[in-house]
């Protein structure tokens, strides 16, 4: 106890320096935590994706649609429970900056396969009945101020022209991580208009087929069976689990994720340099004091332990405060970025990593001063006032 008090008093001896070092630590731990959270948010789509759902797309690339007629044959495949379709719309709201994902789906079968998007009975009835209506997620509605009953116009990038939709209602996520930044409307309406407006995009086509399978253990087998159906046809397919599909997206931007990761380690290096500097200065200033302690009979190990203890205590304080601050800051960051990240949560692992990083900083900062005071000879130390 007495030693702990000594450590505290030692830290407090040079208030200015300690406060600055502490601040630096807090900022570094905070930045490290935020960056880790950004990286995790990047993967969140894949993490919350299901292993029990398969996505079938064109084998060439996602931009090529598949004929709706494939669907009936997919449904017949052994192991497939239910099937639904989805087509990427790619419209912008007023300005190209206002971009959010919109999908043309078959509502009854789609929301059956995706129970995590929750519609109230009232919204469900309204949406299913009116072919020109759409539902939007909670986050999306908040970002653009969409309310039930609004009529919004999207400008099509892939399907040219203006497209009007009546907002039938707002869907909620089952869990907090569920992505509620998307809009869904009727595939039948899109298809009808493609034909009516004579848009030169494949009619009666979908972007992907989504199937739910009874046994996730058979995912590979069922996927192969589906692809087998269409092999050597003009519209070959590629089927993978929803998770693999989402990870494919993440992999495309992997270079950015790698860069963010690298940078989050750089911030720790920076603070290590700052903190090591502080400890080195502290130890240098107190050389004669440590020599005195040794002269009084304290072992070199004890004296080195004092330096280490001071450094670790400082690191721990900074770490704890940094971790605590990460939560409100992450929440604010999520608010500010709108629908950019589907979910943005500080995980328990991140907090642990933050603390470990802080403690590692404490250790690294203490090493050289410790060696120095451990080796110091009493006579020399006392001379160096």
């Amino acid at each position: 106890m007495l030693i702990l008090r000594l450590l505290f008093l030692n830290i407090w001896r040079n208030k200015g320096r300690s406060v600055l070092t502490f601040l630096g630590l807090v900022i570094a731990v905070l930045a490290f935590g935020l960056l880790s959270t950004v990286v995790q948010a990047w993967y969140s789509g894949a993490e919350s994706a299901s292993q029990a759902r398969l996505i079938t797309r064109s084998s060439i690339s996602l931009i090529f649609p598949l004929p709706l007629s494939h669907g009936e044959r997919i449904r017949q495949v052994d192991g497939v429970e239910s099937m639904t379709v989805s087509r990427w719309f790619g419209g912008v709201y007023k300005d190209t900056r206002n971009f959010f994902p919109q999908f043309a789906v078959d509502p009854p079968s789609y929301f059956e396969i995706y129970p995590e998007y929750m519609l109230s009975d009232e919204v469900r009835n309204k949406f299913y009945r009116d072919r020109r209506s759409a539902v939007v997620g909670r986050r999306l509605a908040q970002q653009y101020g969409f309310a039930p009953g609004d009529i919004i116009t999207l400008k099509g990038q892939i399907f040219p022209g203006n497209w009007e939709f009546l907002i039938a209602g707002i869907y909620e996520g089952k869990e907090e991580q569920t992505d509620t930044g998307k809009m869904y409307f009727h595939w039948a309406y899109l298809n009808e208009e493609v034909k009516r407006r004579k848009i030169s995009r494949d009619a009666d086509s979908v972007g992907v087929f989504i199937t739910s399978i009874a046994d996730p253990g058979r995912a590979a087998e069922v996927s192969m069976a589906i692809d087998e159906l269409f092999s050597n046809s003009a519209k070959e397919t590629l089927t993978e689990t929803e998770q693999a599909f989402q990870l494919g997206f993440v992999a495309m931007t992997e270079a950015i994720v790698v860069a963010i990761r690298a940078v989050s380690y750089v911030v720790i290096l920076i603070i290590m340099a700052v903190m090591a500097n502080t400890m080195a200065m502290t130890a240098r200033e107190r050389t004669s004091e440590y020599a005195t302690l040794k002269a009084l009979g304290f072992s070199p190990k004890f004296v080195a332990g004092l330096v280490a203890g001071e450094s670790m205590l400082m690191a721990l304080l900074g770490g704890v405060v940094g971790v605590a601050l990460t939560y409100p800051v992450a929440a604010a960051f999520h608010e500010a970025t709108g629908t950019l990240f589907r979910s943005f949560f500080v995980s328990f692992d991140t907090s642990i990593m933050q603390l470990l990083a802080a403690l590692a900083t404490g250790v690294v900062a203490a090493i050289f001063p410790m060696i120095k005071v451990y080796r110091i000879r009493i006579v020399e130390g006392l001379r160096a006032i």
């Binding site: 630096g24 690339s61 992999a251 340099a273 500097n277 080195a280 200065m281």
Partner: protein
């Protein structure tokens, strides 16, 4: 009062006396400057790649509302109307390239993970309109054949795109007969095939875009107006340069916002480091400062001397950081461009303005970190300081 009464050497030598502390602090600053410069270099590299993809006298015509060529479609009739416009240069035939652009999913060589690659179908006229593109190995693909030529960046990155290898898409096997260098432009990340064969294999009857060469770049405006005002044409025209610049917009914004936010946070850490260092420099030299004052040096001279020390410290960091960052120029960065949904390779580009910005940034950190300690030093009273000795 003369500005620098105390010689600069005094400040610099003090840094040298406390080498260890100086190096640690400078390293912290170097890392911040490194991140700062690397972000700007990446952004400059991206812009440079996409801007150099376009030529000033080429215009890209796409369907109204579509942002990328992949989304756009133009039918044969519309294409021939546009190619007959008076602004379009001609050499026997009008210099208009009817192009088909699709994305295909290929696996990367190093990770085995798939990404989208642009396949551009065009004929000899279209190839000739890209002056910066040169075949570096093999030969150009023959018209009417299932041959492809591949940009050097794509060839390095994707499986099956090496010279002599082949890839399967659109129900056919395509043999790589040549590699081309687009001079660090976006074309380096593309695959080029014969337009007609590509359209047949994907059963397309329409084109994705029409690229025309103007007789004179100054006619861009009148060409654009002619395209938009023609009621038969639901199309819009952009200069090729503008077109590719627009494609880089959101990726560039993302890199900049993320990078600069990080730099600001980091710089706080580095400034704190500098303050701690300078604070202790002042504390250990109280007697010395008192002596200087007693010798007749003004308060402002003391202030400047310590500020100079801090700035010198940060400049050392800035130079180290910049040199680290300049090493990044040999690395290639490759990611999916959000807007075109396809793989794009670009490098880190160090421009003179980035050098200046980084140095100014490091000096600013030095001033911010050194200001408080320097003010403290200048306020030291002579009598007390000398007594402390």
């Amino acid at each position: 009062m003369r500005l620098l009464d105390i010689p600069l050497a005094y400040s610099i030598r003090n840094l040298w006396v406390r080498r260890m502390t100086t190096i640690l602090t400078a390293m912290g600053m170097a890392l911040v400057v490194y991140v700062f410069a690397a972000v700007l270099m990446l952004d400059a590299g991206l812009r440079n790649t996409l801007v150099s993809t376009g030529e000033p006298d080429n215009m890209v015509v796409t369907r109204q509302g579509s942002v990328t060529e992949v989304q756009s479609s133009i039918d044969r009739g519309q294409a021939s109307i546009v190619s007959q416009f008076p602004e379009v240069a001609s050499f026997i035939e009008p210099l208009a390239s009817r192009e088909t652009v699709v994305l295909i999913n290929l696996k990367k060589r190093d990770t085995g993970k798939a990404s989208n690659v642009v396949v551009r179908g065009l004929d000899e006229t279209g190839r000739g309109m890209r002056r910066q593109v040169k075949v570096v190995e093999g030969r150009a693909c023959r018209p009417g054949s299932e041959e492809i030529m591949v940009g050097v960046a794509s060839s390095r990155q994707f499986q099956g795109l090496g010279l002599g290898e082949s890839v399967r898409f659109g129900g056919r096997d395509w043999r790589v007969v040549g590699l081309f260098d687009g001079g660090r432009s976006g074309f380096d990340s593309e695959i080029w095939a014969d337009g007609e064969v590509l359209r047949q294999s994907f059963r397309r009857t329409t084109y994705s875009s029409l690229v025309v060469r103007l007789m004179d770049p100054s006619q861009a405006e009148s060409f654009r107006n002619r395209v938009t005002s023609d009621p038969r044409l639901p199309l819009s025209a952009k200069s090729e340069r503008q077109y590719y610049e627009d494609q880089s917009e959101s990726l560039s914004r993302f890199i900049k916002i993320l990078g600069l936010t990080l730099t600001v946070i980091f710089s706080i850490g580095a400034i704190i480091g500098a303050t701690i260092t300078m604070q202790s420099a002042v504390a250990t030299r109280v007697a010395e400062i008192g002596t200087l004052r007693a010798l007749g040096f003004q308060r402002s001279a003391i202030l400047l001397a310590f500020l100079a020390e801090s700035v010198a410290l940060s400049l050392v960091g800035g130079v180290i950081g910049l040199s680290l960052a300049s090493l990044m120029q040999s690395f290639e960065f490759s990611t999916t461009n959000f807007q075109s949904f396809s793989e794009l390779s670009f490098g880190f580009l160090l421009t003179p303005s980035i050098v200046i910005q980084s140095l100014v940034f490091s000096v600013a950190m030095g001033v911010a970190g050194g200001m408080l300690p320097a003010i403290r030093a200048s306020r030291i009273a002579i009598v007390e300081a000398l007594r402390a000795a």
